[in-house]
């Protein structure tokens, strides 16, 4: 285990209907490319990218659904111990937006209480086909106390920003947690994320 080469490690998990561009977002961010019409990469569990934020090295472990979202059959264990969730919909597809409450219910059931959730409306390059108004999505995100961002995996709009914003937010929370948890030891298990963080950030 080489934990020397980063200060923080975060697990980020993508969810949302099939076809909204989750895999493309990950690939765009980690590999810098947009492979049209390709499905999940066989045999790749998660992708890693290390970024630097204010002089601190942050290792992002980004998990994709492995296609299990297609028939609404994501395993619960997928959500466990995620530090952040990227809930994605397609701005040109009303249905993908309408399914969001359903996804939120899954998050509430299975994800950690402290998980940071960001709502992402993808495919803004297809502005002429937009079905979900920005305002509507913003209102929804606000009501659910989520961050909101619109992206295009194709044009690489806001993709970098999406992950960097998340990383910043996660660092902020981690530092906050460290303060909060100074005297009381974190709950094992649920605290995995916390202990992870505090052990890494010591370096």
């Amino acid at each position: 285990m080489s934990m020397e080469d980063y200060d923080y490690l975060f697990k980020i998990v993508l969810i949302g209907n099939a076809g909204v561009g989750k895999t493309c977002l990950v690939r765009r961010f980690t590999q810098g490319l947009f492979p049209p019409g390709q499905g999940a990469t066989i045999g790749v569990d998660f992708m890693i990218k290390t970024v630097e934020i204010k002089g601190e090295k942050v290792k992002l472990q980004i998990w994709d659904t492995a296609g299990q979202e297609r028939f609404r059959s994501i395993t619960q264990s997928y959500y466990r111990s995620a530090n952040a969730l990227i809930l994605t919909y397609d701005i040109t597809c009303e249905d993908s937006f309408r399914c969001l409450p359903e996804w939120l219910r899954e998050i509430e059931q299975y994800a950690n209480n402290q998980v940071v959730t960001i709502l992402v409306g993808n495919k803004i390059d297809l502005a002429e086909k937009r079905e979900v108004l920005r305002q509507r999505a913003e209102d929804f995100a606000e009501a659910q106390s989520m961050l909101y961002l619109e992206t295009s995996a194709k044009e690489s709009d806001n993709v970098e920003k999406l992950f960097l914003d998340l990383a910043c937010e996660l660092i902020r929370e981690a530092k906050q947690n460290k303060l909060d948890n100074n005297d009381t030891a974190p709950m094992p298990g649920e605290g995995k994320t916390i202990s992870y963080l505090s052990c890494c950030s010591l370096n």
Binding site: D45, S73, E94, R105, K192
Partner: protein
């Protein structure tokens, strides 16, 4: 406090169904992906292997096939993963209980013969309620108060009527058909309150009903509150519901031997990266009406205050000597292990520990078998902690899901709430050519793997007499053996409490295993059935815990809520002799063993029958090694890249192997040292653990 509306039974049933197909009911008609009806065009019509059921063995088989490039379709009729191996939130478990109280609807056999071609024949599977045969005698008791945050004075004389009534008011069992137990009679007046909150829907319910929360919150008995005696805060039923998602309650109760086939497979395949594990921290036993810690590691033996110096020496000598086979031992082959132990002059104390808690066998188990399990136990000590066992954080239900994830990562397609109705058999070859799924789509496959529950009794070869397991699940308010830490994970062996009674295996989980809410413990009891689960296990429960039926158990932890049920014993399914096409393979449900060897062996043997040349679950590449640094332009996963990945992978493997060897070496050294001095050993063990953390 969540949605305790007064549903009557019928509306609850409908409610449950709506959850089962929540996608259908809640989605707008245009939401295509979530509607089972429209799944049909999405599924490819050809696979190498179709697997029905997501229990442990099926999931391991799925991962193994997918990993070596086979096209896998994995479906389950249920809305959740892991079949009878599943874990549920508290609310989810209530829904499960509800489903097992419903009468199974007669299956309407659709006629799919129009999909047949010349020379083909249909074999119908059983789909209406496949688990109704495997689960029976479901009984639920709640001894919590219905008031939230109630401060209850300790009642001096249990079972007080008041308590019983309050308990009854939250009774969850819905309709027992032919129950005579007095405890059940109170169910009738309380039906309405029962399953009001059911899986998945509770959040929604909560947000809708929070403000207008009805009678549940209103105190019905306020007498207790006015007392000013020393008060102990008790957890109320509404709290259990509110914190329901903190529970992960397993239907089966097993542990992972740290050198058992499941742990080996998890490590070999890299599936272990999907889960986290905790050590079982102590082994306990119940003797002479008391719970005692069993000294099992050498360090424990020396630290033990229950054992005399002479006993310690004897035990150490025995543990060291039994690792090798001796002629003396062989002389006892075929004779009971108990006899062998007796002749070692160990004394009653040690004899009991060795027989019940270390070998975990019965009085008439033959010596060779007793020794084998004693050795297995000892070999597993000290790998990850000072007991031989691990337990997965979030419960055992995670394990099958982890293998399913592995299958999906390698291209396997997953579909819950989806089933296979029948098999298309080629009459001439006696092989299954295709399956017809629950939407009437014909899907061809070369092999079909199925959970035994989907196969009609007339086609199965079962051991006689039929075997069954008795299970109890308790939520309690304290540990059965309080200690410095309130976060112990304990394996408890309970020898037969009377002649003819079964030996009971008990596992007590604390909240840091993420299986129960803070302030509670989750206790699983399991034994081979003699009678119903209630008959077999409630005597142990009333002896070891405080319930309204128990007497003078003031110092024992109180049972807040408990569930009894019987489950078919998966080891009752014969390996051969089923009346099925030759390329159809059956996986059994959970067996009664403490470990997972049965299911893992079964999965491996199915894999090897079909692909004898292939490696079983080779390590998945480590994504940590595939790092892209943004400069990559062209196809990153193209041929070149893949090759690179492979070599990296190999390199990494080699490195790992080296590491492993090193590790083994140190372990060996450790073992030697263990033999010498126990005090040092303890230090060493602690050190290893710490470094691991």
């Amino acid at each position: 406090m969540l949605g305790l509306d007064s549903f009557n039974i019928d509306s609850v049933v409908i409610h449950t169904i709506s959850i089962f197909f929540s996608g259908v009911c809640l989605q707008s008609p245009c939401s295509l992906l979530f509607e089972p009806v429209t799944l049909q065009p999405c599924l490819p019509s050809e696979f190498d292997v179709v697997i029905l059921g997501t229990g442990l063995a099926e999931s391991v088989v799925a991962a193994a096939f997918s990993r070596v490039g086979q096209r896998v379709l994995h479906v389950d009729r249920r809305s959740y993963y892991a079949a009878n191996w599943a874990s549920f939130t508290f609310n989810g478990l209530l829904t499960w209980i509800q489903q097992h109280h419903e009468e199974s609807q007669p299956e309407e056999a659709q006629d799919w013969s129009s999909l047949l071609e010349e020379g083909e024949e249909l074999i119908y599977l059983s789909n209406s309620k496949s688990e109704s045969d495997s689960i029976s005698n479901v009984q639920v008791f709640s001894f919590t108060s219905e008031e939230e945050e109630e401060e209850e004075a300790p009642s001096p004389d249990p079972p007080s009527i008041a308590e019983e009534q309050t308990g009854g008011a939250e009774e969850d069992a819905v309709k027992e058909n032919s129950e005579t137990e007095s405890a059940d009679s109170k169910e009738d007046d309380t039906k309405e309150k029962s399953e009001a909150t059911a899986d998945g829907d509770d959040e929604e319910q909560a947000s809708q009903t929070e403000g207008e929360e009805p009678e549940a919150d209103q105190p019905t008995t306020s007498a207790a509150q006015s007392q000013s005696e020393p008060i102990k805060k008790k957890i109320s039923y509404p709290q259990l519901l509110k914190e329901g998602r903190r529970f992960n309650i397993d239907l089966v109760s097993k542990l992972m031997y740290s050198r058992g086939s499941l742990v080996d497979l998890l490590i070999k395949s890299n599936v272990s990266r999907y889960a986290e594990f905790k050590n079982v921290t102590r082994i306990l036993t119940y003797r002479h009406g008391k719970v005692q810690q069993v000294p099992c590691s050498r360090a424990d033996v020396f630290a033990s205050r229950q054992l005399s110096v002479v006993e310690k020496r004897k035990l150490m000598r025995f543990l060291t000597s039994c690792m090798e086979e001796t002629e003396e031992q062989q002389a006892y082959n075929g004779r009971p292990y108990l006899e062998f132990l007796c002749d070692q002059q160990l004394g009653d104390n040690l004899q009991d520990f060795l027989l019940h808690s270390i070998a975990m066998v019965t009085e008439d188990t033959p010596t060779e078998e007793g020794l084998t399990s004693t050795r297995h136990f000892l070999r597993c000590l000290g790998r990850y902690g000072n007991t031989p066992f691990l337990f997965p954080v979030y419960g055992l239900g995670e394990i099958p899901q982890c293998f399913c994830r592995m299958c999906a990562v390698f291209g396997g397609i997953y579909c819950l709430r989806h089933s296979v109705n029948c098999l298309v058999m080629d009459k001439e070859t006696n092989r299954c050519k295709a399956v017809i799924d629950s939407r009437g789509q014909r899907i061809s496959c070369s092999h079909f793997v199925v959970e035994e529950g989907y196969v009609g009794a007339d086609r199965k070869q079962m051991a006689t007499p039929t075997r069954s397991l008795s299970r109890a699940v308790l939520i309690t308010d304290g540990s059965i053996l309080p200690s410095d830490s309130d976060q112990q994970v304990s394996m408890v062996t309970v020898p037969p409490i009377a002649a003819g009674c079964p030996a009971v295996k008990m596992v007590e989980l604390c909240s840091s295993t993420m299986t129960c809410m803070p302030g509670t413990y989750l206790v699983h009891l399991t034994c081979q059935s003699v009678g119903s689960a209630y008959e077999d296990l409630s005597p142990v429960v009333t002896r070891m815990f405080h319930t309204p039926e128990s007497h003078d158990q003031e110092n024992c932890p109180s049972v807040l809520w408990c569930l009894y049920f019987n489950m078919a014993d998966g080891s009752g399914l014969e390996a051969e002799g089923h009346n099925l096409p030759s390329n159809v393979y059956m996986c059994s449900g959970p067996d009664g063993g403490l470990g997972h060897e049965h299911a893992i062996k079964q999965a491996e043997s199915i894999f090897q029958k079909i692909l004898p040349e292939e490696d079983f679950c080779p390590p998945a590449p480590n994504p940590e090694d595939i790092i892209y640094d943004g400069d990559n332009t062209s196809s990153a996963m193209g041929g070149e890249e893949e090759e690179k990945e492979e070599t990296e992978d190999k390199q990494e493997k080699e490195e790992k192997e080296d590491k492993q060897e090193e590790k083994e070496e140190t372990e060996d050294k450790q073992e030697e040292e263990e033999k010498d001095g126990a005090g040092e050993m303890e230090k060493e063990e602690e050190q290893t653990l710490q470094t691991e953390e």
